[in-house]
Amino acid sequence: MDRPIRVLVAKPGLDRHDRGAKVLARAYRDAGFEVIYTGLDRSPEEIAEMAIQEDVDVVALSILSGAHDVLVPKVIRLCREAGADDVLFLAGGIIPDEDRPRLTEAGVAGVFGPGSDLDEIIRFTRENVRRKVPR
């Protein structure tokens, strides 16, 4: 049996708009993923620490406050510094097109804006998980 993919759905920053994060968490669960949700109001340090301890395959960051330009790269940097270099990073929320290249450069593999199809996010996640899923 393949082991389930483990994903951390994270809410960095101070915005409390967790509707998207919760819907995504539920969709991942229904698609057979093991989902860890950080809850609201998490600092980049806390998110990185959870990603390390839970040894997740994916970190999906949802942020709607506009602070993505600062917080998302910081989470990725902290994860990598702690040795989690094979994690798939996704970002969602209100992220203007022109900010995408900078996030991609920072290590985000996929950016999903408002109105993204949940199935598409799940398909993308499955296809791009970087760690091989051992039997």
Binding site: R16, Y37, A67, L71, I94
Partner: protein, 547 residues
């Protein structure tokens, strides 16, 4: 409505009896019949259920003249960056015919963090204006005489503090408190159920609110002390019925809290106002607003024994639904907003914010804000819609839908009561569960195509040109932190410390806290410092996760 459903009319000659869908429903899932007839509203009694505008039960509107007397207040929510920049935006909007101000604060301000707090990193001035001390508030309203505008402030958990800053600015401008008017949102209950910008646990939060009620009834008589908000409940994924029911339930809870705090019901209830979200389903939204006024009037008169008609008449602000905006083909949002604004006006709103077309992407640009404001002006001055009051009254469909909304709201009141009331229902996660469930169902309906969103799941356009968006200068954070540092260096720190100590001591007792908060604000204590003093006494709230 169920009655109408079973009585399908016969087909006309040569006309096939087939419809596009198996069943038709409102956006919130209420069934809609092919046609409505007199028997669907057979029980409707004009005097009892509608009444003239300005008459009990106020279904048709809170005032006798409505828009023939005065148009609704066009109030565009705005705020970003530093106080200087927001001040410039306010002046721009006032010059363009806006009639009221509406302040958006950034996340650190909403949550009681100063701009120099580590958690504020990357957030300062991003989603609203950054306010740390009275000095920022003075700048925000520089050159805007507070007796000549009405100001709405979207602030909840730390509402008493920001309101105290506003009162202190009025003092400095030489404007008496009984001459200022406006609204603070101050609605903590919906924070626990939907918006989540809470700081303290529910019970001490309720005390801060009743302290504001009591203070204003004595000193700031024209101020709307709370804006009981369905908006955020809806934006969190609730249906129109849930928005109606949960918001009214919150409203009744505040009335109870005021009475329990020893206030006379008619001394504070006339200053309570409401705030609704206006979504895409045109008639459903109108019915919701009409039902809301009727339920409020009846409950206040019959359950709470209010005698002043101003306590019965519900007044409210509306905002077009942010969650209905699409990032795809954003120009289409202008049309969405127009329909929503029209529904709000037909529903008899007292003030209105129309969203800008680019808000699904970022903060609105000046041009987008102007179009949104012009949308209201066109409805007000070109369409003829405001010329008569509640023109949809008597419509078989609208009246039947109003009844249905009301009945469903009462069903929710019953379920909330079963759990011991609003606060126990918050604590056991009832609201969050109901909303999460509705939100997920809506998402699935979108996915299946049961609900259409043009440009998102139908009529999709590839290769869209990127839209110009408003960018917040990343240098703002540094500037604001520097400003705060300067204020802290220049103020009398011993006085600040004394004020905070006195505030904490009062918080441990039962006194009204407003005078203490005012003293701290006048001494230029920062928002973060004041919140910190209260946190030490009240503790902080954490939610249980519900998906």
């Amino acid at each position: 409505m169920a009655k109408a459903e079973v009585q399908r009319p016969g087909t006309g000659p040569g006309e096939p009896d087939s419809e596009r869908r198996e069943e038709f429903r409102t956006l919130s899932g209420l069934p809609v019949a092919r046609v409505y007839r007199p028997q669907d509203v057979a029980d409707l009694d004009y005097e009892r259920d509608l009444g003239d505008p300005g008459q009990f039960p106020f279904t048709r509107g809170p005032y006798a003249t409505m828009y023939r007397g005065r148009l609704w207040t066009m109030r565009q929510f705005a705020g970003f960056g530093t106080a200087e920049e927001s001040n410039a935006r306010y002046k721009y909007l006032l010059e363009h015919g806006q009639t009221g101000l509406s302040v958006a604060f950034d996340f650190p301000t909403l949550l009681g963090y100063d701009s120099d707090h580590p958690r504020s990193e990357g957030e300062v001035g991003k989603d609203g204006v950054a306010i740390d001390t009275l000095a920022d508030m003075e700048t925000l309203f520089d050159g805007i005489p507070l007796d000549q505008v009405t100001t709405s402030m979207t602030i909840n958990s730390p509402a008493a503090i920001l309101f105290a800053m506003y009162l202190a600015v009025a003092e400095k401008q030489g404007v008496a408190w009984d001459r200022i008017s406006g609204t603070i949102q101050n609605d903590i209950l919906k924070e626990y159920t939907a918006q989540k910008t809470y700081i303290f646990p529910p019970r001490p939060s309720m005390r801060l609110i009743t302290d504001v009620f009591g203070f204003c009834s004595r000193h700031v008589p024209r101020w709307n002390t709370i804006s009981i908000s369905g908006y955020h409940i809806r934006e969190a994924g609730a249906t129109a019925v849930q928005e109606l029911a949960f918001t009214l339930a919150d409203g009744f809870e505040y009335v109870k809290a005021g009475i329990e705090a020893g206030l006379d019901v008619d001394s504070f209830v006339p200053r309570l106002s409401f705030f609704w979200d206006i979504h895409m389903d045109f008639f459903e939204e109108i019915a919701k607003l009409r039902a809301a006024r009727r339920i409020w009037a009846r409950e206040l008169r019959e359950r709470f024994g209010a005698r002043d008609p101003r306590s019965w008449a519900m007044r409210f602000h509306c905002q077009t639904a942010g969650c209905s905006l699409t990032a795809q083909q954003p120009e289409n949002n202008v049309v969405r907003v127009t329909l929503q604004a029209l529904a709000a006006v037909l529903g008899g709103t007292q003030s209105l914010h129309t969203n800008s077309m680019d808000e699904a992407l970022a903060l609105p640009t000046e041009k987008a804000v102007r179009i949104a404001l012009r949308t209201q002006q066109i409805i007000a001055e070109e369409s003829g819609v405001p010329n008569t009051i509640d023109p949809l009254a008597g419509s078989y469909f609208v009246e039947a839908l109003t009844d249905t909304m009301e009945a469903q709201a009462y069903e929710y009141f019953r379920r909330i009561e079963q759990q011991g009331g609003v606060i126990p229902a918050i604590e056991n996660g009832f609201f969050a569960r109901e909303i999460a469930e509705a939100s997920y169902r809506h998402q699935l309906a979108l996915k299946r195509g049961d609900v259409t969103v043009v440009g998102v799941n139908k009529y999709v356009q590839e290769d869209e040109a990127p839209q110009p968006i408003l960018r917040i200068d990343p240098g703002i954070e540094k500037k604001q932190v520097e400003r705060l540092r300067r204020v802290k260096a220049e103020r009398d720190n011993a006085r600040v410390e004394r004020c905070l100590k006195e505030l904490a001591a009062a918080a441990r007792g039962t006194e009204n806290l407003m005078p203490y908060i005012l003293e701290a604000v006048r001494a230029y204590a920062s928002e973060g410092e004041i919140v910190g003093a209260l946190k030490d006494v009240f503790g902080v709230y954490r939610e249980e996760p519900i998906y």
